[in-house]
């Protein structure tokens, strides 16, 4: 501004080379969930001999794959400070749609419309994108808050699922999806590779592209983004569609992985994927966090679920333990974040 400001700049001392401590504090949002993960891994390794085996690592990877694909899309939405409650429902509808367009064995009693595999996949992708577009339109064109827009979509997609399978179970899906969902390459399950690819791609998009930057900035301060000439509605619409498409992919692969398409198959994935994103440290208020956080969150929940399968405790108690550990992880996140903030600048 003028000379006296530079002289007065002692009020805002330029931070010296940041020490290790400072970096650690500023990364608290990322470190805290990571520590939670380490503690869980150590705990289960000690408690169960079958937990820390190579085979089980493969299990955990496989088990978080479907959630991971959904959570990747959800990360975009949550970074924008919105929410998508329809992910699991859209996953289910898409999985059912791809089976609906595939020739089923005669004993499966569904009046479906078989088309060639690639057409079926394409149609399923169109279907989930269309549901995403409806979410996006509701949010940005009509102006319904995403929480209730996607709540309605959750029911609509469930209704579509019901109409398509009519209480039956479909088993056949296109070969490509089948391979991706339950095949493996060199010992690594394809579904893990797909999930890794989706997460990596999401990370690259969020970190290195213009669109990704807009996502962060829209989440960080929506009004400022609009005042800077960013098409906020476009970004918000896009993240809703991305989330729906990720859910759709997850739904198709999930059907392949579980071997069947039926109603309500994916219901648990809603809470799991939201929990993964949030436990990983991405803020519900937008702008902070990212795919790295989501991956840590995925593993926290994945290790927890898998580890509890390895230890012999009362099945009824497990539900409570899971809830308590989830709460604990959230508390740790909040305190870590607070630590970071009080020691900031």
């Amino acid at each position: 501004m003028n000379d006296d400001i530079t002289s007065a700049s002692t009020a805002h001392p330029a931070p010296a080379r940041r020490g290790l401590g400072a970096i650690a504090r500023s990364q608290m949002r990322n470190i805290a969930p990571f520590l939670t993960l380490i503690v869980l891994i150590v705990f289960f390794s000690v408690v169960s001999p079958s937990f820390a085996t190579l085979g089980n690592v493969g299990n955990i990877l496989t088990q978080v794959s479907v959630t991971g694909i959904i959570a990747a899309g959800l990360t975009f939405v949550i970074l924008c400070a919105e929410i998508d409650l329809s992910v699991a429902s859209i996953a289910n509808a898409t999985g059912i749609a791809v089976a609906y367009f595939t020739l089923q064995d005669s004993y499966v009693n569904i009046a479906n419309v078989p088309v060639p595999g690639w057409v079926a996949i394409l149609l399923a992708l169109v279907a989930c994108s269309a549901l995403g577009v409806v979410n996006a339109a509701g949010l940005v064109v009509i102006g319904i808050p995403s929480f209730i827009m996607t709540l309605a979509m959750m029911q609509i997609a469930a209704g579509i699922s019901a109409l398509l399978v009519r209480g039956q179970i479909a088993y056949k899906i296109p070969a490509l999806i089948s391979t991706l969902g339950s095949g493996s390459v060199g010992g690594i399950p394809c579904i893990v590779l797909v999930a890794a690819f989706v997460l990596l791609l999401s990370h690259l998009v969020l970190t290195y592209t213009r669109f990704g930057r807009y996502v962060y900035l829209v989440g960080s301060n929506r009004e400022a983004a609009e005042n800077a000439g960013v098409n906020v509605k476009l970004i918000l619409g896009a993240v809703m569609v991305i989330s729906a498409v990720c859910s759709g992919i997850a739904g198709m692969l999930g059907v392949a992985h579980f071997g069947s398409a039926q109603q309500n198959e994916f219901d648990t994935y809603l809470l799991d994927s939201i929990a993964a994103v949030v436990v990983g440290g991405t803020s519900l208020f937008g702008g902070r966090g990212g795919i790295g956080n989501t991956i840590v969150g995925l593993f926290v929940l994945g290790v927890l679920n898998n580890g509890l399968d390895h230890v012999n405790i009362d099945s009824f108690l497990k539900i409570l333990i899971r809830g308590l550990i989830l709460l604990l992880a959230l508390i740790i996140n909040v305190y870590a974040q607070r630590l970071r903030e009080t020691s900031a600048d």
Binding site: N56, Q63, A162, G167, P189, H257, F258, D309, S315
Partner: protein, 299 residues
């Protein structure tokens, strides 16, 4: 016999999302047509609250007879009692509406879950030669059917000291949870000889995991014997399943209702309070016939 004047019946089952229930609906409608009964459906949507509302609405309308499969035991007592008080024969299918002490239904048509669980376990144990390692994957622990199937399993296993039970965790009828559990089992236990699932859907989901890991040597037993499972038994993916005769129960409810209304059949005299409707164990040997009978809503 067939009623001369068309009868109006109301049916409700746990939730049409379930294949077993969907097949039951078709069977009821098929037998209803034969017996001149117009069937109106009140879907329970696999939810106690929703089914209760549906039954409340059912109870405020007029019916010749009513057949209900409860989703949550004890959640429908009041409206059902109202219909019984109004003189409508209420046929209870598959699951108790309430403990029989609490409510006086026309008849209770249900399989013996303990018998079904035991029968499949017996078939598995025999095939294992009386020794080896087995895993039971349970349905939801709160489900009476699952509890019965577990009892049947345990009562048979007790007789085989050389069979070791590796694990009995519940998968809550959920295929994704089944997949997760079985991924863990397959790494945790290098030897698994047989697996008993509380229903076929979970069995087929687990088979998919076994196949992906080349562990298809595990003998799989399930419950329900719906067409996909019969197919799986025929082509050897599953070893055995036991028929939970949806058609017999739902068709039976039509027959019982018509007999009560048109034939004046009295509860406890003409028809017993409790009709056990078990189906047979299905193996490769009888699979084809079982499929044919289902195609024609006979079992």
């Amino acid at each position: 016999g067939r009623s001369e004047k068309p009868l109006k019946a109301a049916f409700s089952n746990a939730g049409l999302q379930a294949t077993w229930c969907a097949q039951g609906k078709q069977a009821a409608e098929w037998w209803g047509k034969l017996f001149n009964v117009e069937v109106t459906w009140f879907d329970g949507q696999l939810d106690a609250v929703k089914q209760r509302s549906a039954i409340d609405n059912m109870a405020s309308q007029k019916w010749d007879f009513v057949a209900i499969q409860a989703f949550g035991i004890g959640t429908l007592t009041q409206p059902v009692q109202k219909m019984i008080d109004a003189g409508i024969p209420v046929i209870d299918m598959d699951t108790l509406i309430a403990p029989l002490e609490q409510i006086n239904v026309h008849s209770f048509l249900a399989p013996d879950n303990e018998f079904m669980g035991g029968a499949v376990t017996q078939a598995l144990a025999t095939a294992m030669g009386g020794k080896g390692k087995i895993i039971m994957t349970q349905g939801a622990l709160g489900h009476t059917g699952a509890q019965g199937r577990a009892r049947g399993f345990q009562s048979v296993i007790k007789q085989y000291p050389n069979i070791e039970v590796l694990d009995t965790q519940p998968a809550d009828w959920d295929v994704s949870k089944t997949a997760r559990l079985w991924e863990t089992y397959l790494t945790k236990y290098p030897q698994i000889d047989a697996a008993f699932f509380h229903n076929d859907d979970m069995a087929l989901a687990a088979y998919n995991i076994m196949k992906a890991r080349n562990r298809t040597n595990i003998l799989i037993g399930g419950v329900d014997a719906m067409p996909p499972a019969i197919q799986a038994v025929s082509d050897g993916r599953m070893f055995a399943t036991v028929r939970n005769p949806s058609c017999r129960i739902h068709g039976g409810a039509i027959v019982a209702g018509v007999a009560a209304v048109a034939g004046g059949e009295k509860t406890g005299k003409g028809i017993p309070k409790h009709v056990i409707t078990d189906g047979p164990v299905v193996t490769k040997a009888n699979a084809a016939g079982m499929q044919w009978m289902q195609d024609h809503f006979l079992i």
